[in-house]
């Protein structure tokens, strides 16, 4: 199932999240926007590591993966991504992949 979120979480910059999930597990999460992350490639790796985690735990998993790589975020929080993912799932706006 696929779904998307575009919005500006309170206190954050614009977030675009494309989410694909299957059986409650993330297949792919694409997190885009005008935020900053240092180091940038640590964010890339953390994002790639989200495949296979439960959709309901996306925010917590991102936080864990970023922390493991020493990545600092500005203009976005892992909670924003988790909330966006929950909204995608809850709104039932996904279409069959």
């Amino acid at each position: 199932v696929k779904g998307s979120y575009i919005g500006k979480p309170a206190g954050s910059k614009l977030l675009r999240l494309d989410l694909e999930w299957d059986g409650g597990l993330v297949v792919c999460a694409s997190i885009r926007g005008d935020f900053f992350a240092h180091p940038e490639d640590g964010f890339d790796e953390a994002e790639a590591a989200l495949a296979g985690v439960p959709v309901a735990e996306l925010g917590a998993a991102l936080e864990r993966e970023l922390e493991a790589r020493g990545v600092t975020l500005f203009g976005l929080s892992p909670g924003d991504v988790g909330t966006a993912a929950a909204g995608i799932v809850a709104s039932n706006n996904g279409v069959s992949a």
Partner: protein
């Protein structure tokens, strides 16, 4: 040993511009050059997108191709920028340098102080607006972005000399064509430029000395402007060719 190297590299295409910023980072990281300030501009006009932005999300690629506008992904995060009538700067210092001390926010503020000083020389009262903007009269006049790699800090930013919102929203994606007019009005209320603030057109050549002096006030003596060395230029061209003009990099997101 010189405290600073100052480069004024004039107008180049987007891929070379970003390639040279990276080559300077490599030079400073390798101890080949001292901390470096560079002032430059873009020819042709270009759109740069932030490291984490989707290029198709942000840019009308067909329109850019039609108008001959370069599209490049930056090493730094932040938002999409239409580079036309502006002075652009980049600064590279080791992370051990006082300008990089105290974390990301403090270093943005410390480096942006040079831009603020340049505005003051032009007669414009501007101030740093966290995280990464400079505003004058409540309107954004400069956007800045920073990355830290290889033990160095690279910050580059745009100093708006003029703003053509029609052109900007021709090449940037707008969520809804029907709302384009309102979007332009909204941005008009939030963005200004040196020319708009002073009430007459101010070009690159006129603005350049003010920002040279502004940065010198904050950084210390810069010395006369120079150009990159042959090896640095060679690496800039390699970076431009192999990274910044490659589809793999541009369409990374």
């Amino acid at each position: 040993v010189k405290a600073w190297r100052y480069l004024e590299t004039g107008a180049n295409d987007a891929f070379f511009n970003m390639g040279l910023d990276e080559a300077i980072l490599e030079s400073v990281a390798g101890g080949l050059e001292p901390p470096t300030l560079r002032l430059y501009r873009w020819k042709p006009s270009a759109v740069s997108v932030g490291y984490f932005q989707g290029v198709r999300d942000e840019v009308d690629l067909g329109k850019c191709a039609e108008l001959g506008i370069d599209v490049v992904r930056r090493l730094t995060g932040g938002g999409a920028v239409f580079h036309a009538d502006e002075v652009t700067y980049s600064i590279v210092v080791p992370e051990t340098h006082p300008l990089a001390a105290g974390g990301i926010l403090d270093s943005y503020k410390a480096i942006c102080a040079g831009v603020v000083a340049g505005f003051k020389i032009l007669g414009i009262q501007a101030e740093f607006a966290p995280l990464n903007d400079i505003v004058a009269g409540g309107r954004k006049v400069s956007g800045n972005a920073q990355t830290r790699k290889r033990g160095c800090l690279l910050q580059h930013g745009t100093i708006l000399l003029g703003v053509d919102l029609e052109a900007m929203f021709t090449v940037l994606q707008v969520p809804n064509e029907k709302l384009k007019g309102k979007l332009i009005e909204d941005v008009k209320a939030r963005v200004s430029s040196v020319s708009a603030m002073l009430g007459h057109p101010v070009g690159y050549e006129e603005a350049l000395p003010a920002f040279e002096r502004g940065f010198a006030e904050v950084l210390g003596e810069l010395g006369p402007g120079s150009i990159p060395g042959d090896d640095e230029l060679r690496r800039a061209r390699i970076n431009a060719r192999e990274r910044f003009s490659s589809g793999a990099w541009t369409f990374k997101r």
